[in-house]
Symmetry: D2
Subunit: 365 residues, 4 copies
């Protein structure tokens, strides 16, 4: 199963940056879920480049849902979403066809596909494909909301600038929901923006750390061993090109504390079982414990930079220099956010449908 | 597919800590691979508790390969490895049955299995199951070696004590191969040992960071998106109970550098394509680029500690205190190492068989 | 994995009869395969209704390949084929919405999807979806041919009229390749046509038996037990709505003979191993033995007939009569043929890629 | 996924006829199901050879459930069942190692595994492995019964002798439940027995047709296309070595009737929806319609016969004669029956858990 995520609910991706269209197929979804085009638009907007901190490429993201939705609701059969490609500058790429862009998949793809790959603009590896993830994710995120499950992410760190920590999850998720630059502290947001613009001026790029929270999941989801919640979420997240690390709860900070601190004490509170700390990020032994899921992702600086770089000519196997042209993002951390939310939503829905059956999201009458 | 790892080569786990036996089934393996019992013994020894820094529970790990191996070689049909459980102190657990051990899966498992789970010693969640992973992994690791692919891990950090970085991978992997405490610097190893003993005296535990390298993989393995090399490795690694984070190459450090530094320049060197840095950990766009794969894992402090802890009674939904008895590890980082190597081996072999076919490891005649 | 066929090579279907479009995603295909639009057109023509023996609905089957093909060849990334729906008479269906058509999925789908299904024209259950299977299949069939693997099917029996048996497979496959009514004996073909027209006049429908041969497959494909060649082919074939039986080789005739007759004797012939009979249809123990694969499918009479039928009102749970309007096929055996060939091709390619790796179909240079 | 059946509930098989042990792993089962050893014994007895109509090999089938069952109930974690091999006459096989037994997998397996396969007694292809399927199936069959779902099979035809058709399903299933020779008509049973003994005397073997019914399944199970109920059942059934055909409902007889007869009229009867005929075998469009599932399997004559046969020497690629020694069944139709029931049970349980969630079989309190 190559381009397919999930086991009960599956997401299949297709498309290349400069091909005719990109898209996704969602299969295994409960029938009867309301498909809210406003929600899809809201989420696509959050992914779309905006302002000088993003690429100047205009992406209209005009999508059609060609199957699986009838009279505004999911039918239970596969949903195919198609997004036409329109704003392509294919000539930007052709002259550097033979030069492997450092930090990109060009060379690895060549080794894998023997030169038959559509190399234009990264082809199937392009971040462009994430538009399909987001459009598809919007349907799932709506369905989760109706079940009281919410997902939100902010830029915890961009280069050396930190956002404040999550406070009240519900309020913060709401606050983030319409921000194209998802930072909780306004002051930090401004400094981060400035930092990206500086990178842009320097023909360079910057990375950062995203932090995501999922609230409202019942305890008992996930499996021991290979389908642990961490296994499933991390598999999904590493689909995103620039993600190079993930940690749950205290994560790498676990090395700094003892077991007596790392163990989250259980408490009974108003008929609910909670933990008083959440170092394990809502997951014990791979299974949800009812606390919010917390994870953080390391997102690398965009590899497309305008500075001259050393590389090779793929065909001649010779050293060469490359100067990338075209329109590129000096930072993708903020745009990656809604992709992360979408993939998190898929993973949650996949586990919920697996556990509670295919009608889990179907409205009761 | 719950307890099953892989798509072309699969690993199925079964067993509970205090049940009759644990084990694993390997399916999809190439026929003709030599099964070296010395290698299995070597690896099981590295997982087995040794000295005061580990649990005092004696695990003999007597295994039988009941299928799939004939005249010392793999047949190509499923290999089942059975490891009997012998040294069980079930009574240690029964009296605290109703108390959820903090940091453990007890409560989450109860929510999932409604109380039918075998709670003794963590049941199916027990680290004991990893013995089956290691025995199975030894067969795969031998097969990889014959193809020039090597895997090694060291404790990069234990609590606040750091090992030196990897130097010459081949030498370091060799050095680590017979160390039950896998640290490259002898001085660091001693200090780490002392730190674990201190934790033991304090009835507490410590965690750390493992660093793993895989050398010799061809470029072009992995898939864009959901079966990226990072997706597959992370899915496997988060099967290990205590792992709470993973990063590839520069990982979370990517937030500290610019694109011009993060991008690994390609160079042609003696008919080989290399990168002069390896910030991407041998993976571009989810695909191997021929450089060594590098990743690091955050391993949390063992949750089983002797200090009194706050928790709940699962059945009464009331607050309670727990004092864990029995024999436990004050640290599992060193023992987790060979499990990590085994799972890395599986993931590599799964990708190789997928790419090159089922006879990839079959000796040519 | 619901609407997904295959493990190494996957085919994902989407679409409803009266929705915006139908289509398919092929994933896991070797890079470099020539995509021949003439072959796609040839095969789509064979599926398209023609003459009075088929529905009078005109289907243009205008398809676009929106991804995965670049400069006329497969890239190795997912191929998405979209076929727009154009000739829809949705009003034909709405007035009988509440009446379950006997022999159709209407009632079963209602139980599964709780009324949210797109009921128009059978929705996702419609034979219309097979156009996507055929378009996708054409790419695979071309790739198989280049490897010397050929597939052909004829109507062995229609109602009580029998075709002659396969003679020289290669000649017969060639003969069938451009016949919209795939019968080897011209005389039988005429009688079958007349039989269908008679059914049409009687407002009724007829079924039959298709026989398929696959030549050129190497010995050693398939797996013991659950991925036997029979398991894989039958899983694919029962995707076709009207198929109610499958048999391999002698099939149900096996009950009529003794082991001494059923066993196909092996012989060495000109450096090749053959069997002198082929009662096992080219498969022993689930694995190909190098002889042609032979199977037969029972295809039921089209359930859409104009005669008045007894049924129920789904919503009222009351008895009712139904008179189906619209345009329907009095027989689909001939049109099902190329769908069968396409699915057989997928199954073969899936097994070949699994066994020999992802580059199996990539041209050598 | 090679030796693995199912998607929500999985069955993994391992073992060779003359290896140390055979067995199965069941994963994904609901927690809390009572494991009744009497039921396992009953079913293993029905598979065990009995009398002169079966092999004289004595198989004790001593099994252990080494995991996944605690205090007599399923825990929800993987159940591993191990059956030791004891009565092996390996020398019977070694001298004919190089001779491919006609109708057996020997030659095909050699092509697949390159001679590394365990050839003794058919190795992993041996019918012996079905003991593991039956032991595992017994647990599932008990669970289904508790939900009102029953499965039964009889020998509809053996050579040219026919049993009577099913009458009252419930009574007939009960009648068959303790018969080692599952035939409804006593008179037919006697004649069939005599026919098998005659085949035995002639050093030959006979085949037949099994008919299976599944009652009590809810409407709405299965998926359109590739996970149709027919797809799933047929995939499972063709795992059984000797099965060469399957048909649902009227099956191949569909070619003999018109649509007006083939369509099963729906009727509302006492608040239930039924069909007045069941030509579609309880399945419309791949989905259950609430009527009993009916299918028939063609089982070929046992390929191990004592008559001299023509074959090849695998290594020399030369013609040769073979005279099979050892102890073999002149007929396996009756013994295959309970394997069929077991696999049908798995398929049903897999679909039910997929549809209703992992707790479907968990007893409510």
């Amino acid at each position: 199963m190559k381009n397919i995520l999930g086991s009960n609910l599956t997401l299949t991706l297709f498309g290349e940056s400069h091909g005719e269209a990109i898209g996704a197929v969602i299969d295994g979804i409960s029938p009867g879920i309301k498909v809210d085009r406003n929600e899809i638009d809201r989420m696509l907007t959050l992914r779309r480049p905006a302002g000088l901190i993003s690429t100047q490429r205009k992406e209209q993201d005009e999508y059609s849902i060609v199957s699986g939705v009838f009279e505004g609701r999911t039918t239970g059969t596969p949903i195919c979403i198609i997004i036409q490609n329109s704003s392509q500058h294919s000539k930007d790429y052709s002259k550097t066809r033979s030069l492997a862009r450092p930090g990109h998949a060009d060379y690895a793809a060549y080794c894998k596909y023997h030169g038959y790959e559509d190399y234009r603009g990264g082809g199937h590896f392009s971040g462009r494909i994430t538009a399909a993830i987001v459009a598809a994710g919007a349907i799932i995120i709506s369905a989760l909301k109706a079940k009281g499950i919410e997902i939100g992410s902010h830029i915890l760190r961009l280069a050396d600038i930190c956002d404040r920590d999550f406070g009240n999850y519900s309020d913060d998720i709401k606050y983030l929901s319409d921000k194209t630059f998802p930072v909780l502290s306004k002051e930090a947001a401004e400094r981060m923006n400035a930092r990206i613009l500086k990178a842009r001026e320097e023909c360079d790029s910057v990375g950062g750390i995203l932090e995501t929270v999922i609230t409202g999941l019942p305890a008992g989801l996930g499996e021991p061993w290979f389908e642990s919640v961490e296994s499933k979420i991390s598999q999904a997240m590493f689909a995103v090109g620039g993600v190079k690390g993930i940690e749950f709860g205290k994560g790498f900070g676990m090395a700094d504390i003892c077991g007596s601190e790392a163990n989250d004490p259980f408490r009974a509170e108003n008929d609910k079982i909670i933990t008083t700390t959440n170092n394990n990020g809502g997951i014990n032994g791979g299974i949800t414990n009812g606390m919010p899921i917390i994870f953080r992702l390391a997102v690398k600086p965009t590899p497309s930079i305008y500075k001259k770089q050393e590389t090779i000519d793929i065909f001649k196997k010779e050293n060469a220099d490359i100067e990338i042209e075209g329109r590129h993002d000096p930072c993708i951390v903020h745009r990656a956010r809604i992709v992360v939310d979408s993939l998190a939503a898929f993973t949650c829905a996949d586990m919920l449908i697996g556990r509670y059956g295919t009608d889990y999201f179907t409205p009761e009458e």
